[in-house]
């Protein structure tokens, strides 16, 4: 219980843990295997590592870290497209800071900037729009990424650009959607998940309704969850309670921010500007149906994909990089061959090492590194013995 004292209410944390321990023996499945609960969102992954939540939980609960970090699932080909756009002399390429260091096949945006491309970090898409107004003879492109959480902001910025008649502003749209991705995970035969910790801020936008199919069709419990360590513990308790009682429902642990209907003005703006793509390519996960959005034809003049030509290639990740397996939960980050050797937060090979929300960076920064490295060595020894 090393970390429990760091919780805002250590007593409540202890009570929740005791309740979880009490309920677990009532669940038949735990006699044969650990229960697997997936936290979809990278923000949750970060909190789980920072507060050592996994170590606090009984061994019969395993947390599977989901693909919910938009920077981490950005395919290499898309980064190459960004670099190609940024290298056009007329372009000012604007992006959230998180995306700067994601490796492309030749360079990251940060390297492109060092080589002379006009790449600028902005805090908000509105800043990019202002930049366009101030530089009428340049083309300002905003790299739109993120799940539903950031979609209202880019949609509203495009609507503002249309209203103001701005001609030199466009989005390179790489937004991804949560629900089709959860569905793809549920359909994947290699995944046997027992429940979901659902993302809080995606739900803040989309509401509770879109998650009902998880409970209704797939018979898995799902709890919309906040980002405090106590929120996560409470949600794990709610999931275990549902499983023990044989229920599967959508519960909302984060009601202080998430309403049943979500954010109506935000959803309206999304529906106006964006529509689902047939499929979208994810780093490590391959193509997932309907997992991204593109801009509607009515806003084609603000769509960088229509305005500029791009290489638009699908590029395989380097062989030694095992981001895909980590994203699928098939291996733990430290089991990747290059973890902490060739791949570190300073010199990331895979995107999971770039963002603080990526599972590899979380293990690297907050995991017990010496212990992890010892495990890794042991495993490599076993493997080489197997071979010889």
């Amino acid at each position: 219980m090393k970390y429990v004292d760091e919780f805002r209410d250590p007593e409540l944390a202890k009570t929740l843990l005791a309740e979880i321990e009490r309920l677990l023996p009532q669940i038949e499945a735990t006699k044969h295997r650990p229960l697997q609960l997936m936290e979809f969102c990278g923000g949750h992954t970060h909190t789980i590592f920072r507060y050592g939540i996994e170590q606090l939980l009984p061994k019969t609960i395993e947390l599977v870290h989901g693909p919910g970090c938009p920077v981490c699932v950005l395919p290499m080909g898309r980064v190459d497209d960004c670099v190609a756009l940024a290298e056009r002399p007329e372009v000012i390429f604007t992006t959230f800071g998180d995306a700067m260091r994601v490796p492309g096949s030749k360079k990251s945006l940060l390297q492109a900037k060092a080589d002379g491309a006009d790449v600028r970090m902005v805090y908000s898409p509105l800043d990019a729009l202002d930049l366009a107004k101030k530089n009428p003879n340049r083309e300002v492109i905003f790299f739109a990424l993120g799940f539903e959480t950031t979609m209202p902001s880019t949609a509203l910025t495009v609507l503002q650009a249309a209203e103001d008649g701005v001609q030199n502003f466009s989005l390179f749209c790489n937004h991804i959607t949560t629900v089709p991705t959860i569905k793809a995970i549920l359909d994947s035969p290699s995944m046997q998940l027992d429940g979901f910790v659902a993302p809080g801020h995606v739900s803040m936008v989309v509401g509770e309704e879109p998650f009902h199919f998880v409970a209704a069709r797939y018979k898995k419990p799902i709890v919309i969850t906040g980002f405090e360590p106590l929120d996560i513990l409470q949600s794990i308790w709610l999931l275990i309670k549902q499983i023990a009682e044989g229920r599967c429902e959508v519960e909302n642990q984060y009601a202080r921010v998430v309403t049943a209907d979500g954010n109506t003005p935000g959803l309206k703006a999304i529906a106006k500007v964006f529509e689902l793509r047939d499929y979208f390519e994810w780093r490590g996960l391959g193509s997932i149906d309907h997992s991204g959005v593109k801009m509607k034809e009515a806003y084609a003049q603000f769509d960088a994909e229509k305005k500029f030509s791009m290489p638009n290639l699908t590029i395989a990740d380097p062989k030694s990089c095992q981001c895909g397996e980590v994203l699928k939960g098939a291996i733990k980050p430290w089991e990747c061959k290059v973890f902490a050797s060739a791949c570190t937060p300073e010199t990331p090979m895979g995107a999971l090492m770039v963002s603080s929300e990526g599972a590899c960076a979380a293990y690297y920064n907050f995991g017990n590194l010496p212990q992890i490295m010892a495990l890794k060595l042991e495993q490599e020894k076993l493997e080489s013995e197997k071979i010889s």
Partner: protein
């Protein structure tokens, strides 16, 4: 980007465009209130509201206690510092002065 940051609406800048100044941990910045205003809660009523700000847009109204707890958590995670830095460095066009 995904976690957002809490702040308090201190001044309406442009009611038609639903723009306001929001103060986040001592830093004031222009933020869009388009996602939190409604007929029941018009823009004039937003002054003093505590809101969760995501990439320049207030996305949810929260209570003051929640705002303070969230900010504390984000400080612990190191996310608040990053967010404030990018709010301030964002080529200062929307920065409406530090206080």
């Amino acid at each position: 980007m995904c976690l957002g940051i809490p702040g308090q609406v201190v001044e309406i800048v442009d009611a038609a465009k639903k723009l306001a100044k929001v103060e986040v941990s001592g830093v004031r910045r222009q933020v869009s209130l388009a996602c939190i205003v409604s007929d029941e809660h018009p823009i004039e009523a937003c002054i003093g509201d505590w809101v969760l700000v995501h990439v320049g847009f207030a996305m949810s109204r929260i209570n003051e206690e929640e705002a303070k707890k969230t900010l504390e958590l984000l400080m612990e995670l190191g996310e608040a510092q990053k967010e404030l830095e990018s709010m301030q460095s964002s080529h200062d066009i929307n920065l409406v002065g530090n206080s």
